[in-house]
Assembly symmetry: C2
Homo-oligomer: 349 residues x 2
């Protein structure tokens, strides 16, 4: 069994040694390009050839090498997604639907974490571009100007998500965080609450919700001669149940008359709910609580949590569609979509 290798076998130590398209083609008795067509564009090939190629694939267990295919065709069928972090449930829905929509179209997802700080963004971007993806989905707006320029220069389809900006790099699927904050303020006022407060993460988008909320409260207060400054706390992102508990304590020490809190995330809201429970504060009677995100558990808390809902699944699906249509040459009509938000009215407020 252990014969000395022939010249041909020994010829080279390169390559993976696996089955290649050429092997399949030989077995099927056709040229490699014909085998390629049988697999990629079966309609361009006779039924007879198609059958023989498929048999050969079956027999050999051939799996196409997409590195080679991507190199030759300049189409990698890879889409990169950049998220601040996969920990924290906010973007999961989007990531999930993005992955699924891409998979259905034969694309795969490459995942990169940028962190909430700006540091690694540029390096990450370079690594990503090196893979020559067919498109890039960004979660949130890219901080670094150099990064934005580099992306623009690359000519790749780019979709920014979860935010709106007047100067998108390319395509955009998101909503206005300022408006969301303002809408919550309106909602609480309409419920008859007058002493509003806010707990927020310190990342860019959370802070814009914060500002939208505070600005609207101030505006309403001026009209109605309500109380002055809006009490508010920021915690380092990512927010947590613990930070919600702790900050509620500080808030009540600072502003004991508070009758409504807008929380920058459902996690913080859960913390607020738990801390209120511990302190014997009735929700919503004494304190109204509004969250953000409408995580899966929000409706099932005690009391059910009123929260801002973003259709993350839709964001992911639209992002995938934008990229795919661009790659496949079908031009997209709208390149900016505001998916909006809704306030899910439940018992906590």
């Amino acid at each position: 069994m252990a014969e000395p290798p022939t010249t041909a076998e020994r010829r080279s130590r390169r390559g993976s040694g696996g089955i290649t398209l050429t092997d399949v083609a030989k077995l099927a008795g056709v040229a490699p390009i014909t085998a390629s067509r049988a697999l990629n564009t079966p309609s361009q090939v006779s039924a007879e050839v198609l059958k023989r190629v498929r048999e050969a694939v079956e027999r050999t267990g051939y799996v196409p090498n997409m590195l080679a295919g991507g190199l030759a065709s300049s189409r990698s069928r890879l889409v990169a997604a950049v998220v601040p972090t996969i920990v924290g449930p906010v973007f999961q829905e989007s990531l999930q639907s993005l992955t699924e929509a891409l998979a259905q179209a034969g694309y795969q997802l490459m995942l990169g974490q940028s962190g909430y700080r700006e540091s690694r963004e540029d390096l990450l971007l370079e690594q990503i571009i090196g893979r020559r993806p067919d498109g890039i989905v960004l979660t949130g707006i890219l901080h670094s100007a150099a990064g934005r320029r580099r992306l623009q220069a690359s000519g790749l389809p780019v979709v920014e998500t979860w935010d709106l900006t007047p100067t998108p790099i390319d395509m955009l699927v998101g909503f206005s965080h300022e408006q969301a904050g303002a809408a919550v303020a309106d909602y609480l006022y309409a419920q008859g609450r007058s002493h509003l407060a806010v707990l927020s993460g310190d990342d860019d988008r959370a802070l814009r919700r914060y500002r939208g909320f505070v600005d609207r409260v101030n505006q309403l207060n001026r009209l109605g001669a309500g109380p002055g400054e809006v009490p508010g706390f920021q915690v380092p992102a990512p927010t947590s149940v613990r930070s919600g508990r702790e900050k509620l304590g500080e808030l009540l020490a600072l502003a004991p008359h508070t009758d409504a809190v807008f929380c920058g995330s459902d996690m913080m809201a859960l913390g607020v709910l738990n801390e209120a429970l511990k302190r014997g504060i009735a929700v919503p009677e004494e304190l109204a609580v509004v969250g953000f995100g409408d995580l899966a558990f929000a409706a099932d808390l005690q009391p059910p949590l009123t929260t801002v809902r973003i259709d993350g699944t839709r964001i992911g699906r639209l992002a995938a569609r934008f990229i795919i249509e661009r790659v496949e040459g079908r031009e997209v009509g709208e390149r900016v979509i505001d998916v909006g938000f809704t306030i899910e009215r439940r018992e906590s407020a």
Copy 2:
């Protein structure tokens, strides 16, 4: 400015039209292979050449094409991870640390979702292998026998995680779900509880925790002549706060004397906590609650949740190390690591 393209420029419509290593090499006045060495193995190149190449890279904004590099060297620097779903916080910690550990070593992560049902597993695997990753990290055991064979045949480094199995495909980082279930039963008995019940997801691993728990309870009951069957409910994975609430209701209808519940996930435990709150059942006095996963919020619930902690970060880091060491030819000593689990003792039980 808009002169007609020269013959050379028009020569071909192939390629990306971007900067290539050859361009950089020309600018630096060296051969392409020398530029390649300057970037990949700088120690093999003179200081003078290194400087010129780096300048050329800087000036052109060159980004290496890793498809081409991967094809030529049979090293893609890509690692694939397969998870049932990224929704659901259980594997997040592992994914996060895996991504980070890989990034540090210059590898990137490709993410695939297999779903909790077996259907898409084989297709996904084929797509993944087509990318010629340098390694594959599986979360949980692969269901399909064909898939296991295909992986084994591929010769790729494979790490299975979050489980133990007597017949690993290759490498393994996990813990025993049976033992975890049994340990919770022991713990609750030691707390003086005697009417134990269990709520569980219906995925493979959750069911093994379920079985470990029930078997141990039965064993203890036989010795102590305790009550008979252990009341238990299964819900479709992924588990949720809602399913926890609902099943607690059904459980109490079926077995009103229950004084301890083991929940298959912290999410379900949160639901149980909330439902108990609504029904005025005191936790832990009347009902002890144990979760699984030690999610970030577990310690901050009211009451703080006793739960089984898995060191997901360690799992991710070890998986990355296993793959990288194998790829880089350094052989790994231990190929199976049981990371164990701990019961985080808090107020809920």
